[in-house]
Symmetry: C2
Subunit: 261 residues, 2 copies
Amino acid sequence: MTASPARFDSSLSDGGAVLSPAQLEAALRDIGARRYHNLHPFHRLLHGGQLDRDQVRAWALNRYYYQAMIPVKDASVLARMPDPELRRIWRQRIIDHDGEREGDGGIERWLRLTDGLDLPRDYVMSTKGILPVTRFAVEAYVHFVREKSLLEAIASSLTEMFSPNIISERVAGMLANYDFISKQTLAYFEKRLSQAPRDADFALDYVKKHARTPETQRCVLDALTFKCDVLWSQLDGLYFAYVEPGFPPPGAWVPGAERGE
Amino acid sequence: MTASPARFDSSLSDGGAVLSPAQLEAALRDIGARRYHNLHPFHRLLHGGQLDRDQVRAWALNRYYYQAMIPVKDASVLARMPDPELRRIWRQRIIDHDGEREGDGGIERWLRLTDGLDLPRDYVMSTKGILPVTRFAVEAYVHFVREKSLLEAIASSLTEMFSPNIISERVAGMLANYDFISKQTLAYFEKRLSQAPRDADFALDYVKKHARTPETQRCVLDALTFKCDVLWSQLDGLYFAYVEPGFPPPGAWVPGAERGE
C-alpha cells in the first residue's frame, strides 16, 4: 500500500483565529498544492504519453459528463443568487459552456475531442458508458452547490485557480505524445486558458471578501477540498477500470461498446 | 485491460412488451446475477482470507458510512409514502438500524465490528477517513430515493434479494480465515439474515404489483442496476486505494490515521 500524499493541515483556520484575506488565499492554494488532480498518477500517464488510445478515449468519454453538467451546476448556483449584479457575472459561465448558438461553446468543443477519438456523438451524449463513479462524483458536485451555502457553492469552483497550469501541461504533453490528438481536437483547453483565470479571480475575490469568520473560512476551505475530491475520484475510477488492475465495472464502456459490439 | 463481466441485456423490457410479474422478477434476478457486488474481486479477497487486517479495517470503516446512512435513506423513502399502511411496514427498516434504545440496532452492531478492529468510535463516526467515492456513492443513493418515483425508490432496495447468499459466504469465510474476526464482531450480519429477506419480499411484491407497463418496468430494472452500481463502485474504490495499485486519495484513512498519526 503506497502512502497517500501529505494530509491537509486541518489546524489551519481551526480553533478560532480569523485568517486575513491573504492568509485565506494561501490556505486555499495550499489545498491545491496537495490535492489538485494534476498530482494523480492517471494525469501523469495521460500527459506523459504513456496511455494507449483506448485509455485516452475512456478519459474523454467520462470527462464529457463532467463538462456537460457544468452549466447545470452553474445554473443551480445562479438560482441561489439574489443579486442581479452577481447573476450577470456568473451567467457568463453558462454562456461559455453552452455557446451562443448550436455548434458553439465548451461542451461542443469537448465533443470535437471525442469526435477526434472516433467516439460517436450519440453514444457520448447518452453517457451510458461512463463509470458509475464519474456519475456519482459529478452529481455530488451538483448537489453540493444546491444544498450548501452560496459562499460554499462559489468556493467549490476555486479549482479553476489551478487549472491553467494543468491545461498548459496537458496540451503540450498530449500534442507531443499522441499522433491521434491535434491542436484542433484540443480546442476546448485553449479557450479555458482565458476563461478559467477570469472566473477564478472573481470567485477568489468573492470568497476573500465574504469569508471573514473562522467558521465561514473553514467552510470555504472544506468546499475546495470537496471539489478536489470530486476531480480526484474520477481519475481513481479511470485508473482502476482502464489502467491497473484494469477492471471496468459491469456496463461501463469497453473498446467497441460505442459501436454496440 | 480485463474484459468486464457480461453486460445486462437491455433488450429485456425494451421495445414495448409488458413482462408478467414472474418475468419481471426473473429480469431483476438476472441483474443481480451479473452486477451484484459478490462478483467483485474485493469481496473474493475479503471472504477468501486474502486481505490483511488493515485492508479489512478499511472495508469496515468505509462501509460504516453506508450503514449509517441507510436509515436516512429509508426516512427519505418514508417521507414520500402517502399511505399509513405502507409507512408502518417501511418504518421497521429504520427501527432495525437505529434500534429501540442506545446500544441497540444495526448501526450499533456495525460499530462492534469496527470496535473489534481497533478503530476508535469517534473516528469511525466522524467519517473523516472514508474514501470520497464511498461518500459520493452513498449520497447518490440518498438523492436517488428523494428524486426518483416512489416505485423506483422501493425498487432500488432490491439488492436485499441477493444479500442472504453473500452474508452466509462472508460470515463463514471471515470466521474461518481471520483470527481478528469473531462471531460477536459479525453480529450485524446474523440479524440481517432474517431482516433482509423479509424486507426484500415486501419490496419485490410491491414492485411486481405496481410496475405493469414497459416504462415502469424499465424504471424498476434501471433502479436495481443503479443500486448495484452504488455497491460495486464502493469496492472499486477500496480495491484501488488499499489493494492494487494501493493509492489512497489525499486525506483518506491510512493505518494509524485513526489515532491521529
